[in-house]
Subunit: 437 residues, 2 copies
């Protein structure tokens, strides 16, 4: 691949994936004597923590997406390509991609995680994941399509499946998503659909563990559950999903819920191209890296973020799959690659945990910062401020601020648009085919 | 169909299509003793005059779309359904739709116009129309995909077709679209794609008549052409398109341009369900109506806007297919329907022409208001003000204002996102299938 920088023949750092980790390392290499090549399947970075607000119509999709070319237009040593990397050829130091063969001197795998259905084909087939903008927009359409569809059913038993929304997985994504759907039920349903009552719609949050937000403090877990109850979300704990046939979801304890909509946020797994030695793959399909983010057993291949597991005695499963880990690893690795090139000693990664938070609804959030834990109105403001400031781009911050303000004041913000109709696959073969029309 | 209003059994007015005309008549019937049922294929009204800004990435799609349910949530006698009306059964006063049979007492056909390819199957197959939000988002994706794709071609001859953009049709849509694409070329191309020069990209506007904006004043036409030349658009007048095979567009004079992208804004035709007597169909597939907007030869069926032709001695082809005609007809028809129900005399339609305008680019627009004609910077401000105020919804106006302001100040606004990849059909059968992935 020829880039605008090729002629100089500085060492080429190829980064696969422009998530939180990938963009940090690219930025960290600005003005350095390297050629930076970023490859991604999309032409934009996605701010994943707010995907649920796109899925529930509070934000427009462009507010949480930012084109890479716009982001890096002032970085001279930067080249971007839309590409799907199929295989890493370590021996020849090249990548096999859908746009041809791309050589690298240093490779950074920052490909993140994808939805993990734990081998349940039925679930993969019928449930909806939410890991990118297209999937979030698909959920928005599908929720609205189902409410519209429910109006055509006069028999309450026939109507119910369209108005039962089941979210599986009680981590931050599941909590935020189910809370936001409950707010649609509480504030919008009866106003937009005079034929329906709030009580016609049910939102379930299903979690296999005895508590939600298991990675946060006990206070945060308890308070989040209380908030969800207040919003009318039916929280089901200690419940194992056994199956879903597109019409009815079943649980290990014999319970069942008739529903057209199962949103799956119960697990993630690392995703990466072929060519990584099987021996280095850890639990959750993450690539084992050393404390300098180097893929164990390789020389010039690094991995950061959700796709990587820095397994140590203290952390037998590596760091949690959250944005700050990826960002901090990206920033350090940028420095380390320059040190390696210059023959200087490198620095080991130390994670600085800034805390965790989740929002449940209007005025309701939980925040853990080290030993400091708080919940409620102030936590909600902290959550909003942190997320607003983390968004990429002035335009996106302003537009998001406006959407949130109008939403808060009117109880009626919302981009309740069906632009691309979501069509659920009817056959297993359609899975790989497009799901959004 | 049962609605929340059915029990009262007021006369039911069914409106097919929620464009500019359809929403005016629904609003005009607020608090009247009728049941209003609006049917549309989409769940939102579309502000079509700004579709080109979505196609060229200045505005996000939700800014120019507004959900019907949100629009009418305070109107008690209003019911909305997503529906595709297949047939009008005048004898039984019912509609056959994809959601069942819907009875009406008064029917308003406000189904608007669709793209007219004048029977050219190849063109319909390969060229891109722009009549709804999904098509506009598809154009945005496709433009960006082609620029990305061009980078993979090292041979200039191979690269050219990806960077040649041909707009067919020199009406306001074609002028605005080609101008906006030229601004991407002038202000964004070289910055976002350092491998490319401005000169690598070509924008063509093709018109069969001797001038563009033929419905506006000669001053407006001339000035618009000058502005387009200044922006670097290659305006081709008196040119008839003869064919397009997806790779090369050919013209009657023997000229040909290799291009992957032909945007078609050369014609529209009325679209409406079956059941309208052939004898009432005028040129451009419009339904002939009398001066009270009643479909000629019927009693309780009306048609307004682009789908209708109020043919008189003065206007042998009916009114122009513009929003103000539809809006004024909708407002009058709402009053007339109430008068008909109350046995009062009805009023005949008189079109009040508020003028025409088109924007070509930054600081460049043309405005005709009766005998008053002006062009340039002030015209551009008038255009912006009128369009901003015409948008539906406070949120949409604020967000659009912000997008325009940032765009103006930075030369770098732009929602250059590929969220749903546009996939050009490879076989004729795919035409009816989804084109956006």
């Amino acid at each position: 691949m020829k880039t605008q920088y090729t002629d100089n023949r500085y060492p080429r750092v190829v980064i696969i994936g422009g998530g939180f980790g990938g963009i940090e390392i690219a930025k960290g290499l600005k003005n350095k004597e390297v050629e930076v090549v970023l490859l991604d399947r999309n032409n934009h970075h996605t701010f994943q923590p707010l995907l649920y607000q796109v899925a529930t119509g509070t934000l427009d999709a462009p507010s949480i997406a930012f084109p890479f070319r716009k982001m890096f237009r002032k970085q001279e040593n930067f080249t971007f390509r839309i590409a799907d990397v199929q295989r890493i050829d370590e021996a020849n130091k090249v990548l096999d991609t859908d746009i041809g063969t791309i050589p690298y001197d240093y490779l950074v795998i920052a490909t993140g995680a994808t939805t993990n259905f734990f081998g349940n084909k039925d679930m993969e087939y019928y449930a909806m994941p939410m890991k990118n903008v297209k999937e979030a927009v698909g959920i928005r359409s599908y929720l609205l399509q189902n409410i519209e569809e429910s109006l055509l059913k006069t028999d309450p038993a026939e109507r119910a499946p369209y108005l039962n929304f089941v979210v599986v997985g009680g981590g931050p994504t599941g909590v935020e998503l189910s809370g936001a759907i409950a707010e649609i039920r509480n504030h919008i349903l009866a106003k937009d659909y005079p034929e329906l009552k709030k009580e016609d719609m049910n939102v379930y949050l299903v979690e296999g563990l005895p508590k939600i937000l298991a990675n946060l403090s006990p206070q945060a877990s308890e308070k989040a559950e209380l908030y969800l109850n207040e919003l009318g979300v039916k929280v089901m704990l200690n419940v194992q999903v056994t199956g879903y046939d597109g019409e009815e979801i079943t649980f290990a304890d014999g319970k069942r819920i008739k529903t057209k909509t199962v949103l799956w946020s119960a697990g993630v797994a690392g995703q990466f191209p072929e060519g990584i030695s099987k021996g280095t793959i850890e639990r959750g399909n993450r690539i084992r890296i050393d404390e300098e983010c180097r893929v164990v057993g390789t020389k010039d291949i690094f991995a950061i973020g959700d796709v990587a597991a820095m397994v140590t005695d203290d952390l037998p499963r590596g760091h949690p799959g959250v944005a700050p880990v990826a960002q901090q690893q990206g920033r350090l690795l940028a420095k380390n690659i320059i040190r390696i090139i210059n023959g200087q000693p490198t620095e080991q990664f130390k994670y600085f945990d800034k805390g965790s938070m989740a929002t449940i609804g209007r005025n309701k959030a939980v925040v853990d910062i080290g030993k400091i834990r708080f919940q409620g109105f102030f936590a909600w403001w902290v959550w909003m401020f942190v997320h607003l400031m983390s968004l990429v781009g002035f335009r996106n911050r302003v537009v998001t601020f406006i959407n949130w303000t109008i939403s808060y004041l009117t109880f009626n913000a919302g981009i309740r648009l069906i632009i691309h109709k979501y069509r659920r696959p009817n056959r297993i073969e359609e899975l790989d085919d497009m799901k959004i029309n």
